[in-house]
Amino acid sequence: MTTHMSTQTVTPTASRRSHPLRSMLLKRSAQGVVTLLVVSMLVFWATQLLPGNAANAVLGKSATPATLAALEEHLGLSKPVIVQYWSWLSGLLTGNPGSSLINGDPVGVVVSGRILNSAFLLVVAGVIGTAIAVSAGMLAASRRDRAFDHTSSITALVVTALPEFVVAVVLILIFSTQVFKILPATSPINPGSPPWQQPTLLVLPIITLIIVIVPYMFRMVRAVTIETLESDYVQTARLKGLSEPEILLRHVLPNIVPASVQAVGLTILYLAGGVVVVEVVFNYPGVGQGLVQAVATRDIPVIQFLVMLLAAFYVAVNIGADFATLVATPKRRVTR
């Protein structure tokens, strides 16, 4: 009893600190689940609206009314849409995401390699890109209006304007087919092996993604750093005699985290979509290519699984970015 009371009096903010974060997580997670449910219904319905179905895709030119009807029956496509949706959903909730309508392989087998491939690109490009953008952004801000700042800002502006496939094609021309000829032009990772076993195939796709995501984060970090450098506590630190690098690392960096985290979060979400273009240009077997193929063949279980995965990823990153912002902003937590 006494210990409990003394804990309360000694650190009054400690117990209150966990609540806003935890309640935020719980509330947002609940909202996330509802979002995923709505997304799953919308996508299921949208796929039904597309002309043709998986049976058409399998039989193609050779479809006759009899063979088509037989295959639709076999695939469960002749059941009412609500029934199909429910059997998919109940399957997913019990851990069975179903099997491909096209070749009968379990969905997990069809997509697991692709998910690993895309996730690897995303993580590596995201980490390296973020590191480059944050360092360059802080450097440019601290050397504001001088040579490094000007060149990096203009470069960032130009690159932002380029569509992703232009970046990819230019890199292929320079490093693979026309000028230097040292890197492969396409990246068909061997099915069944992890992407990191073929590192030369990963270089150009990752560089493409880094080039595409750095400018935005760079400009964000630079803007936030400039603002922070003009704040009172940085002036105080300078008057106290701290060196520029010390100021940047100990006073500026922690304070730009909230805004930067939002920029990084947005970038990660963008990467999840942007990876699709890279996969087509480099023939990289990832989620984007998988989803495009699944939609083309109306392979409903695969479409639903990949879309749910991407939606869950979006929800998680959004929650994660806001959570990280809260954690990095003690003020916000207490006033809740």
């Binding site: 693979s176 068909p188 935005y216 023939n283």
Partner: protein, 531 residues
């Protein structure tokens, strides 16, 4: 710090544009490539093909497009390029078409009908073994027929074999079977040569672990991505094949195939457009462009308006400028056609004069039919090289005679969806088949009678042909049938498309082929080698 609303909006707009731009990806990317390479004139095929002496060794990495989840190792279900490749690598067909599009026996040493075409005798060659060492026998023949004639097994050409009385196939000896037919079926031989689909399967065939008699043995397969096979050293054709391994990789489009060949990641690429020919040349590689018997027609339903009026059908066939189409779509590669299929069949009626380009007559026929300001939609899709451009050029040429044709482009799954075979005006794609292999699919009711032809006179001539196993007697019937088609059927066939494949500088053994599918329907993978 708050979100910056402008930045976020800009970001999602950009990602939207890029998802939308996916479809346009191939075109700007390839023109960018073209702009950066010195372009020369497209060469004719045979002058540029290097030669040498066959020798064993090496891993052939070939690129194809059009693969996906539907890729299969069951040869009778093949519809995509990787599936046909698997069929040609792992299996042998009983008979097929050689590179001059003529019937040739392969595993069979005999495929002969009786006097009234109600019974066929099929005999296997001796000494053929499957990859597991088991000899090929009549039991395997019977099993193959049971599978291929049964649509439920997934065999897509089963309807072509409807007259076969599968239950009563009899074994005559260890290598020979007798195949009775429910009705006279003189074209069984031609049908068996079509599209390589009649591959010999062993009793107990398992598509997950396919065993065949083919030049290569199955190693691994991931649908939509990669097929790997290794040389069958016990192959029944002496010395063949030459590669140690063959890897077939699926690509999403032509540009990535081209890049992969230039970067030496693959050795062969397939089904290219004419624009790639100069690019290959300037990179020190070569291409083979074959004139083929394959065709992509304009398809008109002659049982509904406006094409139930024969004058309107004639007008459509006359307004087409075939030379211009070849120039625009294929830069002159390929050859013009005369609205008839089966051009390499010995029975082909070459005495029918080439239909002229006559826009004036077309205009007057439309006027006569009361259809001067005809307005109609044409539905097309990227189902093969040139099918979208075909519709666009046709629409443009139709506008010259006062007809308005609106081009509607949809994706292939939608194209083969519920409206398949019912559209009044559309396109299609056919690789080459012998006359009867084609006619039973597209002219006779029951399969893919996309023009809804169902012509009484033609039908009775066709049924008479089925009772006429003698090839030369049948030729006169074919000539008559083709005249009826030329006059009446809702097919405008402006050209036979070219087949253009690309090769690395050290690849040998590939030759031009008239069959209209990559690498001589992938049969050249048996005769190709590295210099």
């Amino acid at each position: 710090m708050q979100d910056h609303p402008d930045e976020r909006h800009q970001l999602s707009r950009r990602s939207l544009l890029q998802i939308a731009g996916l479809g346009a990806l191939a075109v700007p990317a390839s023109s960018l490539l073209a702009a950066c390479t010195s372009s020369g004139p497209a060469t004719t095929p045979s002058s540029g093909i290097p030669s040498g002496t066959p020798k064993r060794g090496g891993v052939m990495r070939a690129g194809v497009t059009g693969g996906g989840a539907t890729d299969t190792l069951y040869p009778a279900a093949a519809l995509t390029a990787p599936s046909y490749a698997a069929g040609a690598l792992i299996f042998d067909a009983l008979s097929g078409l050689d590179r001059n599009a003529q019937n040739e026996l392969r595993l069979a040493q005999e495929i002969t009908p009786n006097a009234d075409a109600t019974m066929w005798t099929i005999k296997l060659k001796e000494g053929i073994t499957f990859h597991n060492g088991k000899p090929a026998t009549a039991e395997d023949l019977i099993f193959t027929f049971q599978q291929v004639c049964d649509a439920k097994s997934g065999s897509v050409n089963a309807p072509m074999l409807a007259p076969v009385d599968v239950k009563n196939i009899k074994k005559l000896d260890n290598l020979t079977v007798q195949v009775p037919c429910k009705t006279p079926f003189s074209s069984l031989g031609d049908i068996m040569s079509t599209y390589n689909f009649f591959s010999l399967l062993p009793v107990g065939f398992d598509p997950k672990n396919p065993i065949g008699t083919g030049p290569y043995k199955f190693v691994s397969h991931t649908p939509g991505q990669k097929l790997v096979v290794s040389r069958n050293d016990g192959y029944w054709v002496k010395d063949q094949p030459y590669f140690d391994r063959v890897e077939i990789t699926n690509f999403p489009d032509e540009t990535s195939q081209l890049n992969a060949l230039i970067a030496k990641q693959v050795d062969t690429i397939t089904s290219l457009t004419a624009a790639s020919i100069p690019q290959l040349q300037s990179a020190g590689l070569y291409s083979i462009s074959s004139k083929t018997g394959g065709w992509t027609p304009i398809v008109m339903r002659t049982d509904v308006a406006p094409f139930n009026n024969p004058d309107v059908v004639q007008a459509m066939k006359l307004l087409v400028d075939r030379e211009q189409m070849l120039k625009v779509i294929f830069n002159g590669e390929g050859q013009t056609a005369n609205d008839l299929f089966g051009i390499y069949d010995p029975a082909f009626n070459s005495s029918i004069p080439q239909r002229a380009h006559d826009p004036e007559k077309a205009k007057s026929l439309l006027k006569k039919a009361g259809a001067e300001n005809l307005t109609i939609d044409i539905t097309t899709s990227a189902i093969a090289i040139g099918t979208v451009q075909l519709a666009t050029v046709f629409a443009q040429q139709a506008s010259m005679v006062g007809a308005t044709v609106n081009v509607k482009t949809i994706d292939p799954s939608a194209f083969f969806g519920p409206a398949w075979l019912s559209r009044p005006l559309t396109v299609d794609f056919w690789a080459y088949a012998p006359y009867f292999g084609q006619a039973v699919q597209s002219n006779y009711p029951g399969m893919f009678d996309e023009t809804h032809f169902d012509n009484k006179q033609w039908n009775s001539l066709y049924e008479k042909s089925m009772r006429t196993p003698d090839a030369s007697a049948r030729t006169a019937l074919v000539h008559e049938m083709q005249q009826i088609e030329w006059d009446n059927i809702g097919y405008c066939i402006p050209y036979n498309y070219p087949q253009i494949d690309g090769f690395g500088a050290n690849v040998r053994g590939a030759q031009p082929s008239k069959v209209g599918y990559p690498l001589n329907f992938f049969a050249d993978l048996k005769t190709m080698y590295f210099a």
